[in-house]
């Protein structure tokens, strides 16, 4: 699984970062991007899905391998 942030949609709510800090990086302005290449280890897949389901901007998606 990979987590993907649409940076055009992200408005910096930081819901994803607060749920899955292992998977998300936040810049100095509070905008999010995927950490590394976005790969989600199996034990964090549920967190990744929650990051998707809590983003008010629908900016977070996951891509299943």
């Amino acid at each position: 699984m990979k987590i993907v942030i649409d940076t055009d949609k992200c408005e910096g709510h930081n819901r994803c970062y607060s749920i899955a800090p292992e998977l998300i990086e936040v810049d100095d302005y509070g905008y999010a991007s995927a950490a590394g290449d976005g790969s989600v280890p199996p034990e964090l897949e549920e967190k990744a899905r929650l990051a998707v389901d809590n983003c008010p901007e629908f900016a977070v998606t996951v891509v299943e391998d």
């Binding site: 930081n14 100095d28 901007e57």
Partner: protein, 419 residues
Amino acid sequence: MADVSDKMDASPPATDPVTDWATDYDIFDADYVANPFDVWDDLRDECPIAKTDRWGGSWMPTTYEDVVEMARMVPVLSSRDPIVVRPPDDGPSDHGDAPDASAYTTVNAPPISSDPPVHTWSRRLILPYFSPKATALHEPFTRQLCHDLIDAHIESGQIDGAADYAQQIPPRVIAHLLGVDPGKAGEFTEWVQGVLEVGLSNPAVRTKYRMKIREFFMAEIADRKKNPGDDLISDLLKAEVDGEPVSDLHVAGTCNLLLVAGIDTTWSSIGAALWHLAAHPDDTRQLVEDPSMLPNANEEFLRAYAPVTMARVVDEDAEIQGCPMSAGDKVLMNFPAANRDPAAFEDADKVIIDRQRNRHVAFGVGIHRCAGSNLARMEMEVALGVFLERIPEFSLADPGAVTWAGGQVRGPRHLPIRF
């Protein structure tokens, strides 16, 4: 500190009773302020975008879909005047003609009172002070402050969760952040209530307190120019946009925003969460036993008791979501009602502290997402965490004595708690 309630009657002005909420709603109606939820449920079923001629007239969407879509209609729905009740015709203008509102207007509060392009750069100026990392720096101060407030009441077995606790926290955190005299916190409270509570329906009072705030910050700005420090105001004065320094009035306007938007809103959220916990001992017990649940519970409190409704202005005549809106009409971004829409949330009317899927819009959505949301979350989590740690069992001393303020910022103002 000054007891503002002695100076100002924060209860909404008496108006004719409402008989038809779809065509004649009143956001200052006392029963609505205390319990708006049933009205929103009825409106969603019968007339999801309500209209009123009261208070200068406005439209009010109540579904998640409409509120979210309309919040993204920039600049068709402009943010140049985010307060619903207009000032009297003979009073100072409440919205500048210039997008920067650089004249001596009274709602100069960029970026909240602006549209792009001014919104874009003025928001970028302040965002670094409100990132998760930046706001975490204020956590130790906030935690100590909360303990000090509890210390003052722990022996008595009673505390007003709103006046003695929630209301005391954000003014001091904002003073800390702005680098101004913490002894000003009591005055900040009075000014903000003057603008956002009494002043919301009384533009003359609002103007008076806006002037006080501007005078205060213009004096602070003059001081920082002579004695620059390591603080937000000094940094804003050093900032450049396209090679030009930012005007003093812009800096004063942004400080005004941080003060007005960062205080009343956050104490309303803390107070509403305490009100819920005081009446729901099972939820309190779960959070005391497992404090790691608090961040998630906090999001649910934000969803269920979202305090803030911002206004937009229709830029030109247009049919919006099927409604014939005219240039100059106000539209209430009813984020609290959107958060209670059963089409968007399972069991929307229930407070479920371990709710997992919660795309709430308490902080708005789109380009005007609350710039201070990370600070507000930190304050809420610390305030609730310290309260539960120090006072693990508590209840409402007198449910009938609880009072609410409302209009565009809803939260409890008297919340007698016993423990």
